[in-house]
């Protein structure tokens, strides 16, 4: 597990991990907002649809109430018998149904039930011979609501869930001598539902693109921010050693000095000789390797800066003199314990360190830096490959 973690750290640096985490949080945020918006939308849609449906149903029930009154009046309160016996009356009633069958109705018909509980058509408001049901043609009720209306004598409305060919059916009982003799059935036209949903789909389509566009803009802006932040950070990185540069020192570090801090001035011993003997390419390799080894020893919160040429500045906080000297020793040991190899060349490199542990916000930074530099000068003069603390 530990090796996996270190591998992960090697492969993906901390900055990338941060970006991934931020993107993940952003994604979660977008999903959450979209979820809440969708829930709200569905609730509103449900409420609006229910309201529309209620209005439609109420409107149709008023029509059926009137039809019922007319049927009973013209059949002299003997509705079924009248239809069965008098074809002219049946045609007249069907014409009435046809007249009131408005565009919202897919089917409008009257059915009755025989002793064996089989339903039959009595009347059909449809005029198209290919679509109309004949007198006495069997009718399949599809659910027991029809029986319930027969028994309770109360109108009922139900949504079809088992067939896609029907949407809402309204059943209205024709009651004669306190007994249900027939049922007016109306299937509300699917086109209302279809049109409504077509309009809603258009809106949903629009809404989808708006959300998608918003997400893309947010992601784009985020990537732009990352890009500029990267560029901004790169401007403070020394391209050779990959540690902070002098610009960072003046722009950033000077502004965020702690109340108490320590400065380490680090210089590569005899670096000029390395350059002169082996060339600047080797010098560059040495610089990069020294920076790398120094980075390896220091803590995450410590800041290593390439101050110029072969000079590095290490900024630390919360170190007393003993700990600072201990750190300097470890830095030196780590640099010199293995020679730096490039091609066939082997360079034995040492460093000298000047330490100032008295850094404070109350003291001008230039003074703190100067003292660290003086300590380095002493280390150089006293034989190199050593550390000296500022007086």
């Amino acid at each position: 597990m530990g090796s996996l973690k270190s591998l992960f750290r090697k492969k993906i640096n901390i900055e990338t991990q941060k970006i991934i985490l931020q993107l993940f949080v952003l994604f979660l945020f977008i999903v959450m907002v979209a979820g809440v918006a969708d829930k709200k939308y569905q609730e509103t849609l449900g409420a609006v649809t229910e309201k529309i449906n209620k209005d439609i149903i109420q409107y149709h029930l008023e029509i059926f109430e009137e039809l019922d009154r007319v049927f009973l009046k013209y059949s002299h309160k003997n509705f079924v018998h009248c239809i069965e016996q008098d074809e002219k009356q049946r045609i007249l009633f069907e014409d009435m149904l046809h007249l009131v069958k408005i565009s919202t109705m897919q089917n409008l018909f009257v059915v009755t039930k025989d002793r064996n509980d089989n339903y039959y058509f009595l009347l059909d408001g449809e005029k198209d011979p290919n679509l109309r049901a004949d007198f006495n043609e069997p009718f399949e009720p599809l659910n027991d609501t029809w029986d319930r209306v027969y028994k309770t004598k109360k109108a009922a409305v139900f949504y079809h869930t088992k067939t896609k060919k029907l949407w809402i059916t309204i059943i209205y009982p024709i009651v004669q001598d306190n007994r249900t003799v027939a049922l007016i059935g109306a299937d509300i036209s699917h086109t209302i539902d279809t049109n409504l949903h077509a309009k809603l789909n258009e809106f949903e389509y629009f809404f989808f693109w708006i959300v998608l566009l918003a997400i893309l803009i947010v992601i784009f802006l985020y990537l732009v921010i990352i890009y500029f932040r990267k560029k901004y950070n790169e401007s403070y990185i020394d391209p050779l050693t990959k540690v902070k540069n002098r610009k960072y020192f003046y722009d950033v570090l000077m502004k965020k000095l702690a109340d108490k801090y320590q400065l380490f001035m680090i210089d590569i011993d005899y670096f000029k000789k390395v350059n002169d003997d082996f060339g600047h390419d080797v010098g560059d390799v040495v610089l990069a390797e020294v920076a790398k080894r120094l980075q390896h020893i220091i803590r995450d919160e410590d800041i290593l800066i390439r101050f110029g040429g072969e000079e590095f500045l290490l900024y630390t906080e919360n170190l007393d003199e003993d700990k600072a000297i201990d750190l300097a020793k470890r830095l030196r040991e780590h640099i010199k314990e293995r020679p730096i190899r490039t091609g066939n060349l082997v360079c034995h490199i040492t460093i000298s360190i000047g330490i100032n542990t008295d850094g404070s916000r109350d003291i001008p930074f230039e003074d703190v830096l100067k003292k660290a530099d003086e300590a380095l000068y002493r280390a150089k003069n006293e034989g190199r490959d050593c550390e000296r603390v500022a007086w």
């Binding site: 006495n136 399949e140 060919k165």
Partner: protein, 140 residues
């Protein structure tokens, strides 16, 4: 109960078949429910999808001679004459006009409808068995 049956048969058919195929499956179910003592039932049909479905079932064989069959399942009953075999038709008008039509499957007002005529079944000495018994009508 009839409704439950109808919608039990139809969704089951939906699971396995296309729109036209499941109608064929319902017709096959109707044929199965009409009792015959023969182990293999010979069917004459002008419905190619039904014919294909029936050929998959070892209890049925499809014949192209209507006078040799046990049942006729036909969309255009007026095209056959003198076969004198029990028929299952696809629309209510044909059912009414065809004296040999013992049963019908059709759609009316968006509702699937199955009917068997008790009187015509009796004339051919047939009975409806099982779950489709409820669709037998004395009236028409």
């Amino acid at each position: 109960m009839k409704t439950i049956l109808l919608f039990f048969i139809i969704p089951l058919s939906f699971l396995f078949a296309s729109d036209t195929e499941w109608e064929a499956l319902i017709l096959e179910k109707m044929l199965e429910s009409v009792s015959t003592k023969k182990s293999i039932v010979k069917v004459y049909t002008d419905d190619k999808i039904l014919a294909t479905e029936l050929q998959k079932d070892k209890n049925f064989t499809v014949t192209d001679k209507c006078d040799e069959c046990d049942f006729i399942v036909i969309k255009e009953p007026w095209k056959i004459n003198g076969c004198n075999k029990p028929e299952i038709v696809f629309d209510y008008h044909s059912y009414k006009k065809t004296p040999d039509a013992i049963g019908v499957f059709f759609w009316q007002k968006g509702r699937p409808t199955i009917r068997f005529s008790a009187q015509r079944l009796g004339r051919f000495g047939l009975k409806v068995n099982g779950e489709l018994k409820k669709f037998v009508s004395q009236k028409n």
